[in-house]
Symmetry: C2
Subunit: 342 residues, 2 copies
């Protein structure tokens, strides 16, 4: 939202102003999703009066909100009518099968956003101000919301992750999906590998979401539930593959190593552990989305982080793994890190 052009590298007070006001952008998008505005824009005709009627909202509110979304690049305006951009048509209109609008329910959840009101205290103390262990507190209901609402954002990664972890494997592979959540990653492996058998581990209320998704995908006959905590549950096994998706970043490296040792014990020799992670470069400030994720871990956990590949490789090695490789997922901030049990 820059204003008059300046020479490159010149001091820019508008960056300060724009950053202090950036919270408006999150609120505007969250609100548009809540009001079902992107459905109304998709249905047309897109003038303020119609949109206000469709969303049961005021014309003043809808006009100002739609103008703001236009400025933010999320919709287009022409001759006083608002219409979809390619991004909003595909990812924000609830009529699109690729819609990720539901992610606002998790990312914009007051439980996830309210702690930012106390960020100074968090930085002083070096840990979340949420009660107990924050988002990693056992049975935290936020993970049921995550399983429901973040699945559409995770779904496009399931295919690439499945191909990476199955590479060179065939037949009746046994898979443990730790912190399965929505279950999409284990389910994708079951879909790609018709004899694969999946054991999904998560807290019981979360597993209900995974089970429903497994049924929807028609793989429920090869899909077992293991309710409990990754730290306490008996893993069973031995497994060919253990999935650790969006999990290690919640914990300090000592805890990760202990968990990886437990994973190692549950794997067949040569079996593989695959972590889906935000993996910044060693400078920890690039690429931006992966690196910025560390702030979410500061705010919501006692000691989690966005770990670099070196960090993760060291943890894996300490836990007995070898041959670690990093596989960035195309078009997204995630990387799959694979290690092999010796």
């Amino acid at each position: 939202m820059a204003s008059a052009p300046r020479p490159a590298g010149a001091p820019a007070p508008e960056l300060v102003f724009e950053t202090l006001m950036a919270h408006q952008r999150s609120a505007a998008l969250r609100t548009a999703i809540e009001l079902d505005l992107f459905r109304a824009i998709g249905e047309g005709p897109g003038d303020t009066a119609s949109l206000a009627r469709q969303c049961a909202a005021s014309e003043r509110g809808i006009r100002i909100l739609c103008d703001f979304l236009t400025i933010a690049g999320l919709v287009e305006k022409e001759d006083g009518r608002y219409r979809h951009t390619p991004t909003s048509a595909l990812f924000l209109d609830p009529r699109s099968p690729n819609s990720i609008a539901s992610t606002a329910r998790f990312l914009g959840n007051p439980a996830m956003t309210e702690p930012y009101m106390h960020l100074a205290e968090i930085v002083r103390n070096g840990r979340t101000v949420l009660p107990g262990e924050g988002t990693v507190e056992p049975e935290n209901p936020v993970w049921v919301e995550f399983a429901h609402s973040m699945a559409p954002m995770m779904a496009p990664m399931a295919g690439p992750l499945g191909a990476i972890v199955l590479d060179g494997l065939a037949g009746a592979v046994r898979v443990l999906d730790i912190a399965a959540g929505h279950g999409l990653f284990g389910i994708e492996v079951a879909k790609l590998s018709p004899e694969a058998h999946i054991v999904a581990l998560d807290w019981a209320p979360v597993l209900e979401v995974a089970r429903a998704n497994a049924c929807k995908a028609g793989v429920e006959g090869r899909y077992d539930l293991l309710p409990g905590s990754a730290f306490d549950a008996e893993f069973g096994g031995p497994y060919d593959i253990v999935l650790l998706t969006n999990f290690l970043h919640h914990f300090d490296s000592r805890t990760c190593v202990a968990l990886l040792k437990k994973v190692h014990k549950a794997l067949k020799p040569g079996g593989r552990a695959a972590a889906l992670e935000f993996v910044p470069n060693e400078d920890r400030v690039s690429p931006p989305m992966a690196a910025a994720f560390s702030l979410t871990m500061l705010v919501s956990t006692p000691s989690g982080d966005a770990y670099t590949f070196n960090d993760l490789e060291k943890m894996y090695r300490e836990a007995g793994f070898a041959g670690m490789t990093a596989h960035p997922v195309p078009h997204g901030p995630h990387t799959v890190v694979v290690g092999y049990a010796k």
Copy 2:
């Protein structure tokens, strides 16, 4: 914060994610200012341990916060040390005379940010959820905070505004500064025009800030205080110039016209009324900073707006003014709109 490159115009789910997380950027900058981090970065040496000590904060918190600020383009990182960008050195280090860090106290004030948690309700109802008239409620203490903390952001505009409103005038001009706030605009006119006499109008506690600034500038002998509301106070006069800075946008056009009529009556024939405003183009979605300001008015007032030049010209004309002209202030989102009393 885009990730892997995509073809131009291709749908970009990361825009959705980045927008939903934009509130982190506001929180990070507000927090860095609160912890006096930009002073510490300016003093050096800029490693995490030193910064944590200087800010009385944890190393984990400082490292993650500084990495995040680096990603947001507000500081630089090299060999594990953080240092100023040209922007942070000039505008965020409190040791800089141009620092605008104090603006975070107003823009990041919970009274200004908390209503965004209720933006859906605001859009439904078409008005602020703040009590009474919101930020335009008489004697709202938020304007004392504004007068204190927003002055450094407004100061660079005072020179250009002073030159515009004094153009062609000389001698003992009489100036009424409505909603004077920090007083900087009227004070600048007094500095530029050594015989000018200023009457500053605002609520009494706010005028204390203006008076202190007038003393600092050495113009207190030509600076009178008129405590009260712009709608109720007797303006006196007649004046050569009436200033209406950052004021009209808080009200609906009917209210603005009534006020402009009152202003017209207080002006000498040919006298000028100058409004400092966020003036978007007629499309209401450009330029971005001026146009986006309408959201702030939706959230904080019953019926305010960022008015286009056509809107403002119509109000001025209805109130009896003629010859309206728009003067964009260089390097900022503001425009000075001048009209002449017939």
